[in-house]
């Protein structure tokens, strides 16, 4: 597909690209005066009549298509049935799923993204962001769906026409979603490794200790923990430089180091969310119950610490991501985060995590 082409009534108005696209190409399109987001899937491909392929080849490829259509219709139908649930309004669900020629396409609404850096939001704005994101995740988990690829590029910060102070998070891209405990095969399962749960990374490596049934909605909760840390501090938690991504570190039993400027209660919550054992992670309901006070989103001190060797920062986001700020000249990172009196910070906020109650 190319700019100017019309696919099933949708006229492409931007040049298709594969940035952050996984197994697809995407563009914006227009139909009847409304703009949409359109995605062209790279697989499967429906075999066309008249080719010289063998009957066996055609049958195998048609079987792939049937599985693909079933998975998309299961997830799509489940989402549409919960359209009236609290939080479902921020799920950017497929409006149109179709095949044209040999190729599958999906159309969703076009979200007008705010020209705002969510990591620079006030504590109250960050709370709104995290809670609207969590409400969307709760809708998914309530019907047993694992999003499977929670990361900043799949969380759009919507610009509202009334220019209110609060920006809701719109959750997109359910292409890697699956029913809890029923992921695709290790070579097919998707998800960004940077935000991936330890069991997902092990499953991708075909670790015999991780059966398919181990991949549940708790995997999303690990990603929620990393996303929350990123939105609150502009970075992912630190970990031993031996490991490439946080999930690898946790899988190996290494600790994640959370930003010490966060309240202790928040660090406790993030620590629980990024537990190695899925059952030890709070559910999305427990996260919503805990994340109910803007003070949990506040950072002590304004300067940010220097970038350690193994901190992880996502890139390629459609969100604006500012460059990392170093501490003021003459002050070390440790000084920059220490309270003026030099005493260790202690939060008066307390959280009851109530974990382990996943659907």
């Amino acid at each position: 597909m190319k700019i100017g082409d019309t696919v099933n009534g949708y006229r492409l108005i931007t040049r298709p690209c594969n940035e952050d696209a996984g197994k697809s190409v995407w563009a914006f399109a227009e139909r009847d005066g409304t703009e949409y987001f359109i995605k062209r899937f790279l697989e499967p491909k429906r075999p066309q009549a008249g080719s010289g392929a063998s009957a066996r080849s055609r049958e195998l490829r048609l079987a792939e298509c049937r599985d693909f259509e079933r998975r998309h219709s299961e997830v799509g139908e489940a989402l549409r049935q919960r359209r009236s649930d609290s939080g479902s309004g921020n799920l950017v669900v497929p409006l149109h799923f179709f095949v044209a020629g040999s190729t599958y396409y999906k159309v969703t609404e076009k979200v007008v993204v705010a020209d705002a850096d969510p990591t620079s939001f006030s504590a109250k704005e960050k709370l709104v962001l995290l809670r609207t994101l969590a409400l969307s995740v709760r809708v998914l988990h309530g019907i047993g769906i694992v999003h499977g690829d929670l990361k900043p590029t799949n969380v759009l910060i919507e610009r509202r026409p009334d220019a209110t102070a609060f920006h809701p998070a719109k959750l997109i891209d359910f292409d890697d979603s699956y029913l809890t405990g029923r992921p695709p095969a290790p070579g097919v399962v998707g998800g960004d490794q940077l935000f991936g749960a330890p069991e997902l990374l092990r499953y991708m490596r075909e670790d015999p200790g991780v059966p398919a049934g181990a991949l549940t909605v708790a995997g999303d909760m690990f990603s929620v923990g990393l996303l929350a840390h990123y939105y609150l501090t502009r970075r992912l938690p630190d970990h031993d430089s031996e490991f490439g991504v946080p999930g690898e570190a946790v899988a190996a039993g290494a600790a994640l180091a959370f930003d010490e400027r966060l309240p202790a209660a928040t660090r406790d919550l993030l620590g629980a969310l990024t537990s190695r054992e899925p059952a030890a992670r709070p559910s999305i309901d427990a996260f919503l119950a805990a994340m109910d006070d803007a003070r949990l989103c506040e950072l002590a001190g304004s300067p940010l610490p220097a970038t350690p060797a193994a901190s992880s920062r996502p890139s390629g986001s459609r969100l604006h991501m500012p460059s990392f700020e170093a501490p003021p000249p003459g002050r070390s990172a440790a000084e920059a985060v220490r309270p003026p009196d030099g005493a260790p910070r202690r939060s008066r906020l307390k959280i009851n995590l109530g974990g382990g109650d996943h659907p």
Partner: protein, 235 residues
């Protein structure tokens, strides 16, 4: 420690890229740009993968330059081995710099033979995660694979698929039993005209992206940075 080792975690990621480059005369205006792009590619990829926090523990590049068997068989295909970056960067550079835009006669060219050779490359089968990318640079349509005129050429490679359906089977699909490519690893990126056979391949082959160019105008509408970025995005 080389530039890729620093991101080596428990999950080892191997990237193999085969660049199929049309080296016929019409590509003259842009072949130098394509070559420059190829030479810049390892460094650019290293930067991009580091930003994406993908742990590339092995990067190998291979080049297949093609012209037209039916026009002049002796230089219809020039094929390098896989070069491991950055240790064999000098060999890779020497091969790429040696390509010159000559011959080809009239379009179409022998692009499908180059693609078939790329599919049969000795791809990395080890390490934990693999990405096998074929990138086609051409401004011309291609002959159907295995035309009698091409097969009569004394340099025509033995054992190539006899028709387009056999070629598709070698590319494969998720449940394929004859594929030579590993389905979860493979990507095909075509910088080619929206003409036969490239349009059909983009429509019917999985894991394939076509960025259409204007036939005969040597990919001039593509910014090289865009091409590099597109390839990096496919990894």
């Amino acid at each position: 420690m080389n530039g890729y080792d620093q991101y080596r975690g428990n999950l080892r990621y191997a990237v193999d890229i085969v660049m199929c480059i049309d080296a016929t005369a019409s590509m003259g205006p842009v072949l130098d740009e394509v070559k420059r792009s190829a030479l810049r590619f390892p460094e650019r990829l290293q930067e991009d993968m580091a930003q994406k926090r993908k742990a590339v523990s092995q990067l190998r590049l291979k080049v297949i330059a093609f012209r037209d068997f039916a026009d002049y068989a002796d230089d219809a295909l020039q094929e390098s081995e896989f070069f491991t970056m950055p240790g064999e960067a000098d060999k890779f550079e020497a091969f790429v710099r040696g390509l010159s835009p000559v011959g080809g006669g009239d379009v179409p060219e022998s692009g499908l033979e180059a693609l078939a050779m790329a599919i049969r490359a000795p791809w990395e089968r080890g390490l934990d995660r693999r990405r096998h990318v074929i990138v086609m640079f051409t401004d011309a349509p291609a002959h159907p694979i295995g035309t009698p005129e091409a097969r009569d050429a004394h340099t025509y490679p033995a054992g190539l698929p006899r028709d387009s359906d056999a070629l598709l089977e070698e590319w494969g699909y998720a449940r394929s039993q004859q594929a030579l490519m590993e389905n979860s690893a493979k990507r095909l990126v075509l910088f080619a005209p929206d003409a036969s056979p490239w349009d059909g391949i983009a429509e019917e082959w999985n894991m394939t992206i076509l960025f259409p160019s204007t036939a005969g105008q040597g990919l001039e509408e593509f910014e090289m940075g865009e091409i590099i970025n597109t390839i990096a995005n496919s990894i």
